[in-house]
Amino acid sequence: MAAVKETIEHVKEIDVDKYKYGFSTDIEMVKAPKGLNEDIVRFISEKKGEPEWMLEWRLDAFERWKTMSEPDWAKVSYKKPDFQDLYYYAAPKSTEGPKSLDEVDPELLETYAKLGIPLKEQEVLAGVEGARVAVDAVFDSVSVVTTFKKELAEAGVIFCSISEALKEHPELVKKYLGTVVPKSDNFYATLNSAVFSDGSFVYIPPGVRCPMELSTYFRINEMNTGQFERTLVIADKGSYVSYLEGCTAPMRDENQLHAAVVELVALEDAEIKYSTVQNWYPGNKEGKGGVYNFVTKRGDCRGDNSKISWTQVETGSAVTWKYPSCILRGDNSQGEFYSIAISNGMQQVDSGTKMVHLGKNTSSRIISKGISAGKSSNTYRGLVSAHKKASNARNFTQCDSLLIGDQCSAHTVPYIEAKNSSATFEHEATTSKISDDQMFYAQARGLNEEEAVALIVNGFAREVIQKLPMEFMAETQKLIGISLEGSVG
């Protein structure tokens, strides 16, 4: 069973001792005082020079948040964060915004270099046709450098930090912010609405195919800094965008909270592809430290014939709690969810998706691959529902779990709700080691045992890996240092 061993070895590589992205950078930070109250919300808003309505919006969310309690239905257990013991705002200290990469703090660039983010490389690549990836690099909470803005601007694409968007395009932000994930959606989304520090804003004008894949790298750096990113992607009629999000975090003893909100809006005939690689610090062998990842991600297929596709590779974080979802509102709209979740050590993952079919002839597809190792717990939790008026709704769901070792656990919790007779829902879930049947099949075709096992393990997650954009596929391998799929890429 060499390939299984190989997989175990690979998975081990995300273990604490080998967590090569566990470092921290000494850069002076400007911080808001610890704790959370109305003044902090005002402080954040003022720091960002936000319009009055935005402040009102935040305060309203904060008022609502105070009445909410932390959800406990997910199959995860952790020490609840003390919300008064966190910093809600941290920004790198700099007098003026850098005008080029040369002006960027070299330490910051070094950080990215360690992460393998080719910011410098971008300049080299800039001259190369067809291989351009714009990076809205986020260092802690504030966008420090944005590249390729000009080229994007020529296409009419707006890609900037959300605080910048609030200054430059307030009407767009006002129109779409909170329309997919309402400000009082859930405990963490509401908290985010009150204190979000920054994030990315993307607007693709009608009929435009975004000339490059947009990419943001998140990085949690300063100790005890809650990260409250807010991402808003709008694809106007007939447009297309592929958005990449990747994360690593430095090693820290205390748990770090990340409660992001991502909202996607796809209007008529538009398509959004959103890919994530998440490799935050998972904690040490005893489960100490590590990032809490409580994210609300939701896409709204608002227009007819629109499409939203989520692809995620989850390898990090001590506790993950996220369900990228699609609201299939427009007729003929499509939703997709492809996920690989790898858990090891003491990691806990409770992730999945929701496909809410509202429009006619909507279809959705869910492929989830969970790989559980060490003493970790890996849960798929999903909802597929068809509204009464969602005639001909179609869903296919496949959730497969692979267990490595007898200390880990894998769970599947799907909710399937059909309120329409023409809805066709299919759900399949399996949990296994490698089956004898598969082995027999492969061996009968002349492969030896080792090759057969390698083939099966490699094949397990392939459906999802193949959905990643090329740039990300390579990045994924570099970032997480594990490759379940040796033959891909």
């Binding site: 239905w73 009464k388 005639s391 779990s401 267990l403 490595i404 070792g405 007898d406 200390q407 880990c408 656990s409 894998a410 769970h411 599947t412 919790v413 799907p414 909710y415 399937i416 709700e417 059909a418 309120k419 329409n420 007779s421 023409s422 809805a423 066709t424 829902f425 299919e426 759900h427 399949e428 879930a429 399996t430 949990t431 296994s432 080691k433 089956s435």
Partner: protein, 439 residues
């Protein structure tokens, strides 16, 4: 903080306080605890995860009066048999007639060869025999509100002890009969202690002498010894405004062979809940059923297969046909405890929706703590396949008949699992009759 109680809840709490069954001290403690549990839990509602899709707090507006379980009820065996579906009364069996929750000794055949003991729950409790003591404690998990309510309000029931190696020559047929003017409530319990290598078949049916709604709460506890074989078949013939709440908990010993099948036909709100625990290695359980629902019927099937031993097999197949505004719920959970290696679990739930107002909600769950297992589940929801319909019509079969054939083929796959030929035939006939009532 004041708890707002619905009218039904208040009535049920009063019922739990007034109706303690006579028995030993340990039972009193158990009933007191159960009553307190129900009082604090109230009726389950959609915020209770296990009851998300069956909200009794809003579904059960009023609680019916408890049916008279005293000796005054005058019922003849013939009248009861006449209420059974055609063919079921003819199936040779030891008939055990439970009238308004209490085993009626006069109407029942309790003399069974091979040393099988059949006692009414009351007698069993009064005798306080050692084998009855696990009563109320067979289940591992905490009681939910409905389980607590049964324990607190049970009027009677049937306790059966099958000695080691006893192989019954014919099935035990427990007929739950409700009678009395107007809507009535009953609470009853089955307790089975099946010895090693015994072979028992149980037919469970529910009828009402009058055409009136019944609120019934049935609990069954089954301890199945090593290498024993146990078959359990269930049919309810309830009025369409009835509420039927059943809970079955079982412990399966080594190499046991357990099979359950139920046919649900309309009948208002029903919930059949299972919690089967594999205590011994290499046991097999097959829990299946079909539900055919019209009108505003609501049928819930909730199932927990708890694999605590190695090498056990679980198989579940449920077929549901929904018409009109009917609603069905399937919640099935397979748990594989740490160390329960070589578990083989397969769960399948399929629903056929005939109307746009029907609703099917399913939640098939896997909870796996061991690595060398093979577990899977499938759930499908759909309508009649137009291609198949076309195929049949192209061969000269009129549309209505073609539809009927396809629907029959759909639920037939499940009904074929019933091993007892006579019972299977009864169920098939009932199912076909059900269909002929539809358009």
């Amino acid at each position: 903080m004041d708890i707002v109680r619905t009218e039904a809840e208040s009535a049920l709490i009063a019922r739990a306080s007034d109706n303690q069954i006579e028995g030993p001290e340990w039972l009193k403690d158990l009933q007191d605890a159960a009553r307190d549990e129900f009082q604090s839990l109230g009726l389950p509602h959609r915020r209770v995860e296990e009851w998300k899709y069956t909200d009794l707090k809003s579904g059960m507006r009023t609680a019916f009066d408890l049916a008279d379980a005293g000796g005054a009820v005058d019922v003849s065996a013939d009248a009861v048999m006449a209420k059974l579906p055609d063919g079921l009364a003819e199936r040779e069996a030891y008939h055990l007639i439970v009238v308004n929750g209490v085993l009626n000794q006069g109407l029942s055949e309790t003399e069974i060869s091979g040393g099988v003991e059949v006692l009414s729950l009351k007698d069993a409790l009064l005798a306080n025999a050692e084998w009855i003591k696990p009563l109320g404690a067979v289940q591992q998990a905490d009681r939910d509100a409905i389980q607590a309510l049964n324990l607190a309000t049970m009027q009677g029931g049937v306790c059966v002890r099958v000695p080691e190696g006893a192989k019954l020559d014919k099935p035990l047929h427990v007929i739950f009969v409700t009678t009395g003017a107007g809507p009535r409530a009953v609470a009853s319990r089955l307790f089975f202690d099946i010895g090693r290598e015994a072979d028992v078949q149980l037919i469970e049916s529910h009828v009402s002498l009058e055409d009136a709604p019944v609120e019934s709460n049935v609990a069954g506890e089954f301890i199945v010894g090593s290498r024993a074989k146990f078959r359990h078949m269930k049919m309810t013939m309830d009025h369409n405004d009835s509420v039927h709440l059943a809970n079955f908990v079982g412990r399966l010993g080594e190499e046991t062979d357990y099979g359950f099948f139920q046919l649900v036909l309309d009948g208002g709100i029903s919930r059949n809940q299972f919690e089967m625990r594999y205590d011994g290695n290499d046991a097999i359980a097959n829990i299946s059923g079909a539900a055919l629902l019209q009108g505003k019927s609501h049928a819930d099937l909730t199932l927990v297969m708890d694999h605590a031993a190695t090498g056990c097999v679980s198989r579940e197949l449920f077929k549901t046909v929904l018409d009109d505004q009917a609603r069905a719920v399937f919640q099935g959970k397979v748990i594989v405890q740490p160390g329960a290696q070589k578990t083989d679990g397969e769960m399948m739930s399929k629903a056929l929706l005939l109307s746009d107002d029907a609703e099917f909600d399913s939640k098939p769950e896997l909870e796996i703590y061991a690595d060398d297992v093979l577990c899977g589940h499938g759930a499908t929801t759909g309508q009649i396949d137009e291609d198949l319909l076309f195929y049949l019509r192209a061969r000269g079969i009129p549309e209505k008949e073609a539809r009927a054939l396809l629907i029959q083929a759909f639920f037939g796959e499940a009904l074929e699992l019933v091993e007892d030929e006579a019972v299977r035939d009864v169920m098939i006939e009932q199912a076909v009759n059900w269909y002929s009532k539809t358009r």
